[in-house]
């Protein structure tokens, strides 16, 4: 399995009032690699993810998967949204089954598979609860179950734990690792949390501030399965420093240059 993003640019608006969100972004991933994209806010990382998801058309550049460009085949992706993105009018089971809904017409099988992943995230007692009856952490668990149930070729995570408190975040990060260990697939993960990137990913892609470019790719040298202990290792410190050196520079730049 190979996946690559070639020279993606994205420009919003036209003429003098246009803004460039992405200025020629390329990177590649293969197999069941877990790639994290880290960058200052406003660097276009969410835009990049939405381009991969097919929600936004890039201005130029293309994406290819197993040698075929995304224009030739529709890439099957699952996106886990920042604020869970559960439909408030559907209960947990319906929300998770939504991941399969548009792939096959076998409703019973979809529900069965949805139930399986709801059990995996520990919410079997909440099948018929609506999102507003769940805590924020539980909602994002449902969002994760929905993404896995669709059995995507690429799993996309858009700051999935950004709105959680620190403790819930740690628990969900480990849950994600556990489920992913069982259902390995290529992951592109966007975050501004360096610790999260080190804990979860095989490789960290560091982006510049707007317009977004790739500054550097840094390998995370820990074997799997992993747990929280890796964050204390000396290699983690090295990665942390390299990522932060670039990010600090970019963040300072974005603070001084008017947007």
């Amino acid at each position: 399995m190979s996946f690559s993003v070639h020279e993606i640019t994205k420009e919003y608006g036209a003429g003098s009032s246009s803004t460039i969100a992405l200025a020629g972004v390329s990177f590649a991933a293969r197999g069941a690699e877990f790639v994290s994209i880290v960058g200052p806010s406003g660097c276009g990382k969410t835009t990049l993810l939405k381009i991969v998801a097919g929600l936004i058309e890039p201005t130029s550049g293309h994406i290819s998967f197993n040698g075929e460009t995304s224009a030739q085949t529709k890439l099957r992706t699952s996106l886990v949204f920042q604020d869970h993105g559960l439909l408030p009018w559907y209960d947990v089971l319906q929300n998770v089954a939504l991941g399969l809904r548009f792939q096959s017409s076998d409703k019973a099988a979809a529900r069965e598979k949805a139930r399986h992943f709801i059990v995996q995230v520990g919410l079997e007692r909440f099948l018929h609860h609506h999102p507003h009856q769940l805590s924020i952490g539980m909602r994002q668990r449902v969002g994760i179950a929905r993404a896995f149930v669709a059995d995507p070729e690429i799993l996309l995570l858009d700051e999935p734990f950004g709105s959680l408190d620190a403790q819930t975040k740690l628990v969900l990060q480990q849950e994600l690792l556990r489920i992913w260990q069982e259902h390995r697939k290529l992951v592109v993960h966007v975050t501004h949390d360096i610790e999260e990137a080190i804990l979860l990913s095989d490789r960290i892609v560091v982006m510049s501030g707007r317009p977004g470019r790739i500054r550097e790719e840094i390998a995370v040298p820990f074997p799997r399965p992993r747990d929280l202990d890796v964050l204390g290792a000396s290699e983690a410190n090295e990665v942390r420093h390299r990522v932060w050196d670039i990010l600090e520079e970019e963040v300072r730049r974005s603070l001084w240059v008017p947007q």
């Binding site: 939405k50 998801a53 097919g54 929600l55 529709k74 099957r76 992706t77 699952s78 996106l79 949204f81 604020d83 993105g85 559960l86 439909l87 408030p88 009018w89 559907y90 939504l98 991941g99 809904r101 548009f102 792939q103 609506h130 999102p131 507003h132 929905r146 669709a150």
Partner: protein, 255 residues
């Protein structure tokens, strides 16, 4: 526990005020403190209601409901459908909005004579008149409901491979449901008003005509009986819609 007690007490207060008002009216009418030809005691209105019932009230209620519900269905179904499309598509909204702005302010009852010219004096003219009244609030509310749905939900369904029809079914329709129902509530109130107003003028049957005939013949208890019947229909409608809201939109925060 304290909040629960407060609620019970409040209900008792409401019941006490209601009993007090009706009892006061009864007493005042019997003692002739108020003109009982205009304000007959409630007991006599209730007793007369039985006569009215045996004297063909059910058939008249049926006719009124037929005109009312017929008009609601004929007006609300296209109103909601067009409203959802208009709310969903900004382009369609720009095209349709001027027409709504031009036609909506006309009180639809003034078109009734024209509808008679078109349909003749028959049930169709009456149903059409109610339908026109119901159409606009249904449309406007459905459009507002669809427009207010967060773009996030459209992205979610699209990202999992949903097409336009899926967006309609899984986002636009359920997302607008609370506003659609509140539109129907407003539309139904107006529709009932127009139904009765029409029955005042051109029909020999229906609750409106019972009230009008009672006025002509000065049978004041019949007049009150008609008003009471309409009130009961109005209460039933809003209870049904309240129930539908609770059943169909359980995700809505309780107001």
């Amino acid at each position: 526990m304290k909040a629960l007690n407060d609620k019970v007490v409040d209900r008792l207060i409401v019941a006490a005020i209601a009993i007090g008002l009706i009892g006061g009216w009864e007493l005042a009418a019997r003692k002739e403190w108020i003109e009982s030809l205009v304000f007959p005691p409630p007991s006599r209105i209730i007793a007369n209601f039985g006569n009215l019932w045996r004297n063909d009230l059910p058939r008249n209620v049926g006719l009124t409901l037929l005109r009312f519900l017929g008009g609601v269905v004929v007006g609300a179904v296209p109103g909601i459908t067009i409203g959802l499309c208009v709310g969903w598509s900004a382009r369609l909204r720009r095209i349709v909005d001027p027409f709504i702005a031009a036609i909506h302010p006309i009180p639809k009852i003034v078109l009734f004579p024209l509808l008679i010219v078109i349909f003749g004096i028959n049930e169709w003219a009456k149903i059409a008149s109610v339908a026109l009244t119901v159409f606009f609030p249904s449309l406007i509310n459905a459009a507002a409901g669809a427009r207010e749905i967060s773009p996030l939900y459209f992205e979610v369904v699209r990202s999992y491979g949903g097409r336009r029809i899926d967006l309609f079914r899984h986002v636009v329709l359920p997302g607008s449901l609370p506003m659609i129902l509140s539109g129907i509530r407003i539309a139904a109130n107006l529709g009932l008003l127009v139904t009765v107003a029409i029955e005042f003028t051109v029909t020999s049957a229906g609750i409106g005509s019972i009230i009008w005939m009672a006025l002509q013949t000065m049978r004041i208890e019949d007049l009150y009986g008609g008003v009471l019947t309409i009130a009961l229909i109005g209460i039933t409608i809003s209870t049904v819609i309240q129930w539908l809201l609770k059943r169909l939109t359980p995700w809505q925060p309780k107001s």
